[in-house]
Subunit: 141 residues, 2 copies
């Protein structure tokens, strides 16, 4: 009887401790918590130049989701950014827009993109007249 | 007595359920869950060229943490990537490395960096002979 009186509160405490668990809220840890380190990042960078145009709405709502679907489960996440300014005085804006794909396997990325390359390239004309620069990099942090 | 026999297993089950809780694993939601959309992104991009060098270890362990500390609480996160290859055949690697800072306010970023610009530039020589290209962009996704 006495043993139960001791065990029951202990068990209740353990229950609440379990339900009350939260992840640490250190922003650096939280942001890196979905392990990006070691992933492959493919960056598609659209250089700025006079006369060049870029339709961000189409890119965000149509083009990137289309390519993301081709990549499938190998895709960890994708990002889009809009170039605003050069960070150096008297230097022109380098890129109007950059889209990136974080993938687990470069091989699988290339295998997925290969058969769809024509469709992807044909879609360029729907949002830009810029030929992008493509960078493959490894995520260090 | 019988009530306790029923309650105890139920309580034990509830405990394990509590401890066993895990977040939803949809990668897109989880990765965007720390709201990056609308943030300002400052990218420091180190162009590749023959004869250029870059010490990633120093960059990762010394330089980036130093600059991150200058930026302070305005900093949401910073990233580092190592250029591996061009994504286009017969095109050279565009960047050897890229470091980025995601901040809430561009003004506050510039205010924090300003007085420390000389220290930051003096530190370049400790890891690279490349003059970086700096891009200010807005996170769309």
């Amino acid at each position: 009887m006495k043993l139960r009186l001791i065990l029951l509160p202990l068990l209740l405490f353990a229950c609440f401790a379990g339900f009350g668990q939260t992840k640490q809220t250190d922003p650096q840890k939280q942001n890196s918590s979905v392990a990006e380190k070691g992933l492959i990042k493919v960056s598609i960078m659209y250089p700025f130049a006079e006369g060049k145009t870029f339709n961000m709405e189409y890119y965000e709502t149509k083009h990137m989701p289309m390519v993301a679907a081709f990549i499938g489960s190998n895709l960890v996440k994708y990002t889009i950014e809009k170039g605003v300014a050069s960070g150096t005085p008297n230097q022109p804006l380098s890129y109007m827009a950059i889209g990136t794909f974080y993938v687990k396997s470069l091989n699988d990325y290339q295998t997925a993109i290969g058969p769809n390359r024509d469709a992807i390239r044909a879609d360029f004309a729907n949002y830009t007249n810029i030929t992008p620069v493509i960078l493959i990099s490894e995520v260090v942090r």
